[in-house]
């Protein structure tokens, strides 16, 4: 926090790391002038769990299940991004049916995540009856997930080179029944979120992120699309089977005809994406070809293959919150040399600052929640020495870099 900017009239409010308004630990320091927020500072690093370190002692198959536990809600995105990275290194060709099955799982997760978020957003503005009705609908999507993967949250469906469970013909009627339910009720939900007075009052012109700021701060996912930036990994790189499917960027002007970049627009984008996801799953069920679901069904053989390969790979996947990037380096050993995760919330932290500036204290929960933050996914680096938490500034880092250069020159 820049303490020098404090004037006589403004004062500081620290919020967090543990606070009822926040679902996960993050520390805000607000400079407040009356009810208005003048300046914001965000501090992270309260839930660092050392997952990447744990990954350096496991083989790629074991890491799949570790990656699944980076985030409870994105429990499909992380392992799939990791396996995309590994498949890139080992040149594994994925069967076409598996590509479609991967899309179905990814979109189903997006439905669950966006509905969870919509419920939380309703709760944040004090509209709890909508929270219950949204989550009742989400329960159906979770039941469908359980039916397809065997579990509600930790799906264990990813395998390097494909997926682990197939969708057989007898399962399709049940999937279509649930999709129909979601589709029928979606209109009701859209009506509540987009036409209700309470929602409009609280979310219109609140927490604005302009197009330029979104581009400058590299926001990802629905947060950036709500500001009118056309950025979506599914369309940009058309991995999996997305290239065969009818998919386009979901920006708020599709529905409302204008882009404001406020909380209302973020609700619009997420709701449109729920509808888009339902349609994508339907398309996949129609177009899915017959064939294998995994490139190498013998896991032991796959492990032996991965033990031999060397190289670096990057896996990108459009998670419900935005682009998730996994970097993996294999050096011909059982365990990967490096595994680095960049969760989408990492990019969506800085946009909080322009969003929150000029807003009121009471808007903090809904604006903070509007990027759908996921703190424990984001916290990747923490420096702790002698029990003290230590953060390095740019100058200190630069100094350290100079010192290292000198040390190497000797």
């Amino acid at each position: 926090m820049k303490a020098k900017s404090t004037t006589k009239t403004s004062y500081h409010i620290p919020i967090g790391p543990i606070h009822p308004a926040l679902k996960e630990p993050v520390h805000f320091e607000f400079e407040i002038d009356g009810e208005r927020i003048v300046d914001v500072d965000v501090k992270l690093g309260h839930v660092h769990r050392g997952i990447e370190w744990a990954g350096s002692r496991r083989n790629p198959i074991q890491i799949l299940y570790l990656a699944e536990r980076i985030c409870g809600i994105c429990s499909y995105c992380h392992p799939i991004a990791f396996s995309l990275a590994v498949e890139g290194i080992a040149d594994i060709e994925i069967p076409e049916r598996a590509e479609y099955l991967r899309v179905i799982q990814g979109e189903l997760e997006r439905i669950c995540s966006h509905m969870l978020w919509a419920g939380v957003a309703a709760h944040e503005i004090g509209f709890d009856s909508v929270l219950y009705i949204t989550w009742e609908m989400r329960e159906r999507a979770l039941d469908l997930t359980e039916y397809l993967t065997g579990n509600r949250v930790t799906k264990a469906i990813t395998m390097i080179g494909g997926v682990r469970r197939d969708i057989t013909k007898d399962m399709i009627p049940r999937i279509q029944k649930d999709l129909k339910y979601l589709k029928d009720n979606f209109e009701k939900l859209r009506h509540i979120y987009l036409d209700d007075k309470t929602f409009k009052l609280r979310s219109k012109d609140c927490g604005i992120l302009t197009n330029e700021e979104a581009v400058k701060l590299c926001a990802v996912g629905p947060t950036t699309r709500a500001s009118g930036v056309k950025k979506d990994v599914r369309v940009d790189t058309s991995y999996f089977a997305y290239g065969d499917l009818d998919i386009d960027y979901m920006t708020p002007d599709v529905l409302t005809g204008e882009v404001n970049g406020d909380v209302y627009d973020r609700i619009v984008v997420r709701l449109l994406e729920v509808k888009q996801s339902i349609e994508l799953i339907e398309q996949c069920l129609d177009k899915m070809p017959k064939g294998d679901i995994v490139a190498e069904p013998k896991v032991a053989k796959l492990l032996a293959q991965l033990k031999k390969v060397e190289g670096e790979g990057i896996g990108r996947h459009e998670a419900p919150r935005g682009e998730v990037v996994h970097y993996v380096k294999l050096t011909g050993e059982e365990h990967p040399y490096t595994w680095k995760v960049r969760a989408p919330t990492y990019n969506n932290i800085l946009p909080w600052i322009p969003m929150l500036k000029g807003e009121q204290i009471a808007d903090i929960p809904i604006v903070a929640a509007s990027t759908d933050p996921c703190m424990s996914c984001t916290n990747r680096v923490g420096i702790i020495k002698d029990g003290n938490k230590n953060e390095l500034t740019k100058e200190q880092l630069h100094q350290l870099s100079i010192q290292k250069t000198r040390r190497l020159m000797k």
């Binding site: 299940y65 039916y147 930790t154 264990a156 509540i192 036409d195 209700d196 896991v299 492990l303």
Partner: protein, 133 residues
């Protein structure tokens, strides 16, 4: 415009709750005593909802089929499986298990399978119910 939730809220008053009241309709004053009563047959438990077909519950282990190849130990993400060298068989600690069923996939003799039991809470991580061998 207007308050679009009103109709929904009133309709909800006449609907049954969505939640399945498990294990009892009302929270018993003492859960342990209640469960003891259930075991004696004095009280009835409200059953949980049916589990789906591919559900991954407590692991079942067919000891005779196991050849002691240790492949399951190699892929277990949580190190939940221990090898018993004298018998050449395995021991699974369910308190560590993450129910991913990866050991089922890699097993060459298919001696492991996922069961449907999921009420596995226990105060002792080494209790008999939580060790499969």
């Amino acid at each position: 415009m207007g308050f679009s939730m009103l109709g929904q809220v009133f309709a909800q008053m006449f609907k049954k709750p969505w939640t399945n009241k498990f294990p009892a309709k009302y929270q018993p004053s003492n859960t342990t005593k209640y469960l003891a009563k259930v075991a004696e047959g004095k009280a009835k438990i409200n059953p949980p909802i049916e589990i789906p077909k591919g559900f991954r519950g407590k692991i079942k282990y067919d000891k005779d089929k196991c050849i002691g190849c240790k492949l399951c130990i190699k892929v277990c993400p949580t190190d939940a499986i221990e090898f018993k060298p004298e018998e050449k068989k395995i021991k699974i600690y369910l308190s560590r298990c993450c129910f991913c069923s990866q050991c089922n996939d890699i097993c060459p003799t298919k001696c492991l399978s996922m069961g449907d039991e999921f009420l596995l809470a226990d105060s002792d991580p080494y209790s008999k119910d939580l060790i499969v061998e």
